[in-house]
């Protein structure tokens, strides 16, 4: 019998990622590593090479005649519905039949004996079409009378017009915020194995197995119970594998059923980046009215988004941009409007933050405008506008901010980062440095946690205890590197008081937990941790009842101790105890369930409580720019971030560090560039530049606010961590802005557009130097 004082893998401890040893040895299997069944085929997509056109003919004879080709799939081969729109708007065909809507749109798939053969054959299609005029960006689209891809949202509170009229100061401006490619290291991939009757089983790399299952069923014209979708792990997701994998799952499944052989599809990186959606670019028109102290009196904002040719998730994404257009600040009177514009580009999709970052950066731009107009430190303006006591605690969507900890959090960071002293030194440095200039900025983030589509806030789990005492854990969440499986297993280990190693974490499959939500919105641990805990508690309740009866003790005398169960004076090892329960015919398996309480949202009214709680954080970044070239470097970043009572501080810290760098990349070197014909020219890491190790801050201090505890009853009082720290990268952008502002003695807001590439920095420097 093991006599340990504590189990391994307790909640709130630094447990390593459960797959870490497999990652470093190359033994972790990703979808492309799984051995294919005998006779497997390979599919590849043929893409359009025009942004907008009417299809007049498609000659695939050369494709079919190419070596190794087994056949092609077009819209005609779809037995069910030719649509994979995740919100049911029926605006996203698997393959279009009449109109090409963007450059790189999949038109057909070719199936061949090898991937190389399929790839070569896909190049041989002859597509005839009549070109149509195209609009690539939201402003051009609006001017051309393009429609919204989905219903827009208005948020309003208070009377904006009178507040503007009476305000001592008012500034209007426009900000362009670029999109972002996910650049998950593992690209999109799926393979399907045909089954009996109408059945098919799909292995893929999706954040949303249930949706993939439903899409495959819908396109094949079979019930969902004929389709199984499996995900062991993803090589990164970031939102890019929420709805985007549907296409690949569907193509693999269609082909598998048509030819009765397993079929794998894996696009190359260029095709992946060309044919799948990205973070939405926004053009934001803002109008901020404020008093002489820099307090905001009224805000108006118009958020026009490049949604691409279809809605995909653009509705909730543009909604979330509005939900975060206040960031941490109270707007006494506010009117925010989204414009989810249709464009002839790939349909944009979820990406870490889901529109939130584009809202937050607009709020920070307005803060900057006020600070430069009044000649004040932007941090003072930020603090003057933080949500406060009743009267200053209501968001533009009428939810009260009840858990605001930014006062303390920002104060602590300001102190530990020595912000005031360093800012003074930087201003002094800039006075005597003609070429190199420095900037510093401390920016906060407040991020709302919950799916704004309230029904998604549910989760299931399945826990089995086998009669040898080993535990099988399954839940509806997917593992994409964030450590979800580790955290949920910690919860289970702690609840059973057994060592972490006793728990086998298994692949996510629609066979075990049905109707799951995407692992998205930072919700993975909150939802699935609770669902797993519910399952464990059901089993434990049965075990307690069994033990109380068998040994004749009160239920509260049955205690789960590290790897043991104490029943009155009896001490049994967990294995012995489970064996006894099995022999007594106790059910040792349970399905758990959870739904987030308290939340509700009335979109038509723009009112409700869409978020269960908020997560907070702040970052302070210092940069140096070269005013001759626009090149820059991040010298130092200090972060203090709120994850409530962390389930696993090491993994949470990893999320914070990684999200910060990804957020920094979004705003600095990651630039999406389409040519006039609508072709994305930054479509691989050779042309699309995500941060490297050498881009990280030279000094990088990251801390979790260890005093924070979720005031809501979340899993172990923790908070979600996936998305909120992404917006800490905004501190780098604001610091760059200050460095640029120095060339005009901080009298003018540089109005940098994002991403602030060296080119944009130099152009802003030049503009300010010229007084333009």
């Amino acid at each position: 019998m093991k006599d340990a004082v504590s189990i391994t893998g307790l909640a709130h401890t630094d447990r390593i990622h459960d797959s870490a040893a497999k990652h470093v040895t190359g033994r972790a299997d990703y979808t492309d590593d799984v051995a294919l069944p005998e006779g497997a085929l390979h599919a590849y997509l043929g893409l359009s090479d025009v942004a907008h056109a009417r299809i007049t003919g498609m000659d695939l004879s050369q494709v079919l005649a190419a070596p190794g080709v087994v056949g092609v799939l077009t819209a005609k081969d779809i037995p069910g519905v030719n649509d994979i729109s995740p919100t049911g708007l029926h605006d996203e065909p698997v393959f279009p039949t009449e109109t090409i809507q963007f450059y790189g749109q999949p038109l057909f798939a070719v199936i061949a004996e090898t991937r190389d053969q399929a790839r070569r054959a896909a190049e041989l299609a002859k597509v005839r079409y009549d070109p149509l005029p195209h609009a690539l960006d939201p402003i051009t689209a609006r001017e051309a009378g393009y429609p919204y891809v989905t219903a827009p949202l208005t948020l309003k509170r208070g009377d904006v017009a009178p507040a503007q009229a009476e305000a001592p100061h008012r500034i209007k401006g426009r900000m362009q915020v670029g999109g972002q490619d996910h650049m998950y290291l593992e690209g999109q991939i799926a393979f399907a194995i045909p089954g009996e009757d109408d059945e098919v089983s799909v292995h893929c790399s999706t954040q949303h197995p249930s949706e993939a299952q439903h899409m495959v069923a819908h396109v094949l014209g079979v019930p969902s119970n004929a389709v199984v979708v499996n995900v062991r792990r993803m090589g990164g997701g970031f939102g890019g594998k929420e709805s985007q994998m549907n296409l690949f799952c569907v193509v693999a499944a269609l082909a598998a059923k048509k030819w009765g052989r397993a079929v794998k599809i894996r696009p190359d990186r260029d095709q992946d980046m060309t044919a799948t959606g990205k973070r939405h670019d926004f053009v934001i028109d803002y109008d901020v009215a404020f008093d002489t102290e820099g307090r905001i009196l009224a805000v108006e904002g118009d958020f026009a988004a490049r949604c691409g040719f279809s809605a995909d998730l653009s509705g909730p994404v543009t909604d979330r941009a509005l939900f975060h257009a206040d960031n941490a600040y109270f707007y006494p009177a506010v009117r925010l409007q989204s414009h989810p514009m249709k464009t002839n580009t790939v349909s944009n999709t979820a990406f870490r933050g889901f529109g939130g970052p584009q809202g937050v950066i607009a709020a920070e731009r307005m803060i900057e405008e006020i600070a430069y107009a009044l000649g004040r430190d932007p941090l003072d303006i930020r603090k003057a506008n933080f949500y406060g006591p009743p009267g200053r605690d209501v968001t533009p969507y009428h939810q009260e901010v009840e858990d605001n900890i930014l006062g303390r959090l920002v104060g602590e960071l300001e102190e530990s980062a020595d912000y005031r002293q360093r800012r003074a030194e930087i201003i002094e440095f800039n006075e005597t440095s003609p070429v190199l200039r420095k900037g510093i900025a401390l920016t906060p983030v407040k991020f709302g946690i919950s799916f704004t589509a309230t029904w998604f806030n549910q989760a299931g789990a399945l826990v089995h205890v086998y009669n040898d005492g080993s535990i099988h854990l399954n839940h509806g969440g997917t593992e994409m590197g964030q450590g979800l499986n580790t955290k949920v297993a910690q919860v289970v280990a702690e609840a059973f008081q057994v060592d972490f190693e006793r728990i086998r974490i298994t692949r996510t499959t629609t066979e075990k937990v049905p109707n799951t939500s995407a692992t998205a919105a930072s919700s993975g641990s909150d939802l699935n941790g609770m669902a797993a805990l519910d399952a464990v508690n059901q089993i434990k309740a049965r075990l307690v009842a069994f033990a109380a009866e068998k040994w004749g003790v009160a239920p509260d005398a049955v205690l789960f101790r590290p790897n043991q169960v104490h029943v009155g004076a009896e001490v049994l090892s967990f294995d012995e105890f489970i064996r006894a329960a099995y022999m007594a015919r106790v059910q040792l398996s349970a399905a758990g369930f959870y739904k987030t309480p308290k939340i509700h949202w009335d979109r038509a009214k723009g009112q409700g409580r869409p978020f269960y709680y908020f997560a907070y954080g702040a970052a302070c970044s210092e940069v140096t720019i070269d005013t001759l070239t626009g090149e820059y470097r991040v010298d130092r970043t200090d972060i203090l971030h709120d994850v409530g009572r962390s389930l696993n501080p090491a993994l949470d810290r990893g999320q914070v560090e990684g999200a910060f760098i990804q957020g920094m990349g979004w705003l600095t070197t990651e630039e999406l560039w389409w040519d006039k014909g609508g072709r994305l020219r930054t479509h691989a890491p050779s042309t699309y530049k995500i941060p490297l190790a050498s881009d990280r801050p030279r000094v990088f201090n990251v801390a979790l606010a260890d005093w924070s505890e979720n005031r809501e009853l979340t899993i172990k009082r923790s908070k979600a961590v996936g998305e909120p720290p992404f917006m800490l990268g905004i501190s780098v952008f604001e610091a760059l802005s200050m460095a640029v502002a120095s060339v005009a003695d901080y009298r003018e807001c540089p109005r940098l557009d994002a991403p602030a590439t060296p080119e944009r920095v130099l152009m802003a420097v030049t503009r300010l130097q010229a007084g333009r």
């Binding site: 390593i16 990622h17 797959s19 870490a20 040893a21 990652h23 470093v24 040895t25 190359g26 033994r27 299997d29 990703y30 492309d32 051995a35 790839r119 070569r120 190049e123 290291l185 690209g187 993803m234 090589g235 990164g236 970031f238 990186r269 003609p434 070429v435 190199l436 590197g481 450590g483 140096t624 070269d626 001759l628 626009g630 090149e631 470097r633 090491a650 993994l651 810290r653 990893g654 990684g658 910060f660 760098i661 070197t669 630039e671 560039w673 691989a684 890491p685 050779s686 042309t687 941060p691 490297l692 190790a693 990280r696 990088f700 990251v702 590439t757 060296p758 080119e759 130099l762 030049t766």
Partner: protein, 487 residues
């Protein structure tokens, strides 16, 4: 002498002998598809993400040395005679993690784990060379590895903790060094290798003379040196490259020697193989050199290939032209030498005849009083293609500028000298005004393009400012740092 028709190498512990290797077959596909060694990942298939990093040990004149390379764009045929080490070779026979792997686990260096094997291999290669690396050394070693999850900090911490778990001397690549050397020596043979199907023929010449002979037989063959560009013709553009003549195994092509007042660089020397000699003789190129590709690319790509390829955005031509470099081309036994700048005729057009190849580059060494600089501007600092690159050389005698040679990349269809700017400087005093005049003259030299890397306006303004930077940086009156690297 008969030709050999097999490709032979050691993969981890095993001897491999392949009877039929087409020119365009990649090492990565061989590992993943044929050998089912799936630890090595494909992330981009263009040598930019590093998920496919493996070590290739090569027996050169200096003995056996291992370098991390990108298996995705490394052609299988080019590992003939080498020892290929994949991530599967690291953990002990008993399953114990290798020190690099243990450090990565301890420091939470993986999240999604897909890039991780590549990082492990790069860190492994670094640790073998530098057991206790500085942060800067780690950054340089990881320029060719992308991670989208961690933000890198935990990986850097891991890199600096590897030596707590073991020493390179106890590592099996050290302990088995003699045995591997012996096995590789046994693989060496003086024969030409000809293999692969007729439409995808692979040729590994036996020597430089044999290379010249092969090219006479196949004047339009693809010459493959480091494959950092040709690899992409295959993986991205699906272009046939056969017949392909490989040169990466030819030691004679890799020599870098001082020859009087010049440095002679064999066209087959990789960027990495050049770097020691360049640092010694042309220290102004040192930091610039570290910004060519990532480490894996520098271990594969060659100076000769960078020139012969003719790209307007190659990193080496501008700085070599500024130094007055000449190249020697060879066809059969005939050699000819021309100034490097004359080699670039127009976009995609170089002064190379069918059957001819770049054999060597001669770089005159500057005098101690010469002023030299090499600047590169790119969207991302490391592992990026330049938006503007420039080599600047001049001599200032008695306060008067002479001998100005300024060559830009990214500003025209070829790497090109800024003749008007040079003219504006030559004979003029070393003053700010002279450089202002040169900056103005630059608009007569170039009409740069706009593309995804930079706009025309930015390219011009940045190019002008680099002339200003050069003046400030070399001027005694400048009291403050004028570029980030110096600060």
């Amino acid at each position: 002498m008969t030709h050999r028709s097999t490709i032979r190498f050691i993969l981890n512990g095993r001897d491999i002998c392949l009877p039929e290797v087409g020119a365009s077959q990649t090492l990565l596909d061989f590992l993943r598809l044929d050998q089912r060694l799936t630890g090595t990942k494909e992330g981009c298939a263009e040598g930019d993400c590093g998920a496919c990093t493996v070590l290739v040990g090569r027996l050169g004149p200096q003995g056996l040395s291992y370098a991390p390379v990108n298996a995705c764009i490394r052609f299988l045929a080019s590992v003939d005679g080498c020892h290929v080490v994949t991530v599967e070779h690291l953990a002990g026979r008993d399953g114990r993690l290798h020190p690099v792997q243990q450090a990565m686990v301890d420091h939470h260096g993986s999240q999604c784990g897909f890039c991780t094997p590549g990082f492990v291999m790069s860190l492994y290669a670094l640790w073998m060379q530098v057991p206790e690396p500085t942060e800067a050394q780690v950054d340089t070693a990881l320029q060719g590895n992308l991670c989208r999850c961690t933000g890198y900090a935990p990986i850097i911490r891991a890199a600096q903790a590897i030596s707590r778990h073991g020493t390179p001397a106890a590592d099996h690549l050290s302990t088995e060094r003699a045995a591997i050397t012996e096995r590789l020596t046994a693989l060496k043979d003086p024969r030409r290798v000809v293999t692969g199907p007729e439409d995808n023929r692979t040729i590994l010449p036996a020597s430089v003379d044999d290379l010249a002979a092969c090219l006479l037989d196949h004047p339009n063959a693809t010459i493959v040196a480091g494959a950092t560009d040709v690899g992409l013709w295959v993986t991205k553009f699906l272009r046939p490259i056969g017949p392909a003549i490989f040169t990466g195994h030819l030691d004679e092509m890799k020599t870098v020697v001082q020859d009087g007042n010049s440095l002679r660089i064999g066209a087959g020397a990789s960027y990495s193989e050049c770097q020691t000699m360049l640092s010694r003789h042309l220290p102004h190129l040192d930091a610039y050199w570290d910004r060519i590709g990532g480490w894996q690319v520098r271990n594969m790509g060659t100076v000769g290939g960078n020139i012969a390829n003719g790209s307007p955005i190659g990193d080496t031509p501008p700085v070599l032209i500024a130094l007055g470099a000449e190249i020697t081309l060879r066809r059969g036994d005939a050699h000819r030498t021309l100034p490097l700048e004359a080699f670039f005729i127009d976009y995609g057009k170089q002064d190379r005849e069918p059957g001819e190849f770049v054999e060597s580059i001669r770089v005159p060494l500057p005098r101690p009083d010469d002023r030299n600089a090499a600047y590169k501007i790119s969207k991302r600092r490391d592992e990026d293609i330049s938006s503007v690159a420039v080599g600047i050389h001049m001599r200032v005698t008695g306060g008067i500028i002479g001998n100005a040679r300024i060559a830009f990349g990214g500003m025209a269809a070829t790497p090109k000298r800024a003749r008007a700017a040079e003219a504006a400087l030559n004979g003029q005093p070393w003053t700010r005004e002279s450089f202002e005049a040169a900056a103005r003259a630059l608009t007569g030299d170039f009409t740069p393009l706009s593309d995804w890397r930079a706009s025309s306006a930015y390219r011009m303004q940045a190019a002008q400012n680099l002339l200003r930077r050069f003046h400030m940086e070399h001027d005694v009156a400048t009291a403050t740092p004028v570029r980030l690297e110096a600060f």
